[in-house]
Each structure stands twice: as C-alpha cells, then as structure tokens.
Amino acid sequence: MTIGIVVFPGSNCDADTYHAVRDVLGCEAVYVWHQETALDGLDAVVLPGGFAYGDYLRAGAIAATSPVMRAVRRYAAAGRPVLGICNGFQVLVETRLLPGALLLNRPGEFRCEHVRIRVERADTPFTCALREGDILRLPIAHGEGRYYVDAETLAALTRDRQIAFRYCDAAGHTTESANPNGALDNIAGVATVSGTVLGLMPHPERASEAIVGSADGLRIFESLARWIAGRGVVPAPAGAGAGGGAAPAGRAEGR
C-alpha cells in the first residue's frame, strides 16, 4: 500500500504528511515531485499543505498549472483517491477537480488554531472509518480558506452530498462562531460526487498524535488505509462494519 505525497515548490506540509502516513499510520509513503507525469503504482495521492509557488496569485492557482496536476487529473478521472489538504484543497479547486473557490478568511488574516469539524459524509475513501455526525478536532492554518460557491452550485453540492465536512462547535452545531473563516454554510471540505476526490482546509496530518494536541486526524488516514486494503470497498453510509458494504462508485468507475 503506497500513498504518494505531491511536492510542489513551496509545499511545506509534505514532510508532516509523510510522517503521519509512514511513521504513525504505518503505510508506505513516497514523495511525488511536481514535474512527475505519471502516478503509477500509487494507491492514493495526497496534495499536502503549504504555499505552492508562494501562493503568489490566488492560493493554488500557479500549482494548478504544474505537470503533476495533469497526471492527478487523469488519476482522479480513473476514480482513484485524491486528498487535498489546505493548500492541496486550494490546488484541487483551482484545477477544477473540485467546485468552488477559497477566499481570504473573513477576519482578513491568517488563522492557526484548533477547530472542530463534523463528518457529513462517511462513504468516501477518507471518511469510511468514521460515521456521519462524528466530530473531529483538527487544526487549521490558512489565510485563504473561506469556501465559496454560487447559490446554484451550493444547491447542487447539497443535493449530491458533496459537502464532506462542516465547521461545528463541541456539540456538533454548525454555528457562526464555530466557523473560523466565514466559509459558506460552514463548509470545511468538499468531495466529488463519487467521493474519491476530497479537499479540506483543516490539517489531519497535524492531528495524528495525541502528544501534539489531537489524534483525530489519523482517522482520516486510517479510513484511507482501510479503503485501500478493502480494495475500494467501504462500509455503507449507515455505519456498517469495516470492510463490508457497498462498493464505492468512484473506484468502480475506474476499473
């Protein structure tokens, strides 16, 4: 089981993600250079956080032009799992692999703090070890994380269950005060309809060990490992046991 971690010039959470995947989760991890054009042999691809190309246009916009993103596009089209964390989410949005845009935080500045997110969808490769309604405590660290789409797209996202995570309080309520960046509808993460491409602003890799404040993020990587091990089999959304249940649309499409 090998998880590829893409390295753009200016990525800076690549090593943290590598550590979480390899040293904590215990999976094989490899770095994928931004100039790679093939992603053969990888069971999943993670676009890590950071400031790719300095985020000198809109965050993620320049990275979206790099050769590896053409490969990621093909990889995603084949129904294989792609996770974008923070800057990686911004890259996925700029690549149009995910809908929407990520705007300057409502407070007008960078925010680094722990937040809570509610799992809205448990039938993706990244959430299949979780249940809908589960609350995860994860850090955010971004300046441009305010998720935005137009009303029409929002309706479609809601209808198609593409909203993967929402900012919430300790009780799971998606209140305004629990929303750190002014994201539309408290959206912290979105996925494709199939669920195989997912982006989120919070950093699961920074919350993979209790010693650094939270281990909740590890459950996202554990989901991925379980999904890969189950060869694309994820539990039914109702929370059926691991390994059983319906085949996810995404992986099936790819075959």
Binding site: A101, L103, N105, R106, Y148, D150, G182
Partner: protein, 89 residues
Amino acid sequence: MAAAAGATAAGVRTVRVTVALKPGVLDAQGQAIQKGLDALGHAGVRAVRAGRYFEIEMQDTPDLEARVRAMCDGFLANPLIEDFRYEVL
C-alpha cells in the same frame, strides 16, 4: 510614462489588467482596508473593494486581445469570483 512603457521594445505592448471580486462576493480585504482608512481619519470613504493589478509586457500579435482574455479568464482571474478589466497601452 504610459507611452514609454508601451514602447519598451519593438513589437512589445504593455497590458494593464485589474482583477476585482464580483459585486456579490464578500471582500474581507476591502473591508479591512476601509477600517484602516477610518482609523487613520480619512473621512467620507463609503466603500473599498480590493483586488489585484498586473502589468504585462507581451509580444504584439494581431490576436493580442484574445490572448490577454485567455490569460485573464481562469488564471489571472477566477471567473467564479472575480471580474477582470484590461487596457492595452
């Protein structure tokens, strides 16, 4: 200065692009700047929108404007959230 910039080299034109958030999109930066102007005592400022500005020197070709639009649409500006305007000197 404009003329000089436009004439940097034979066959090279200067293009000025401004990009701003669409009217309905909340402009956090513009709001912060307005606050700052208030705090400094600049009276009578009703609204501020903040955006980006680019000065691009490019080879002149008959399809210059089409090339500029192509660069703006999706790259320099994200059409979901931003409008752009350009001027060829």
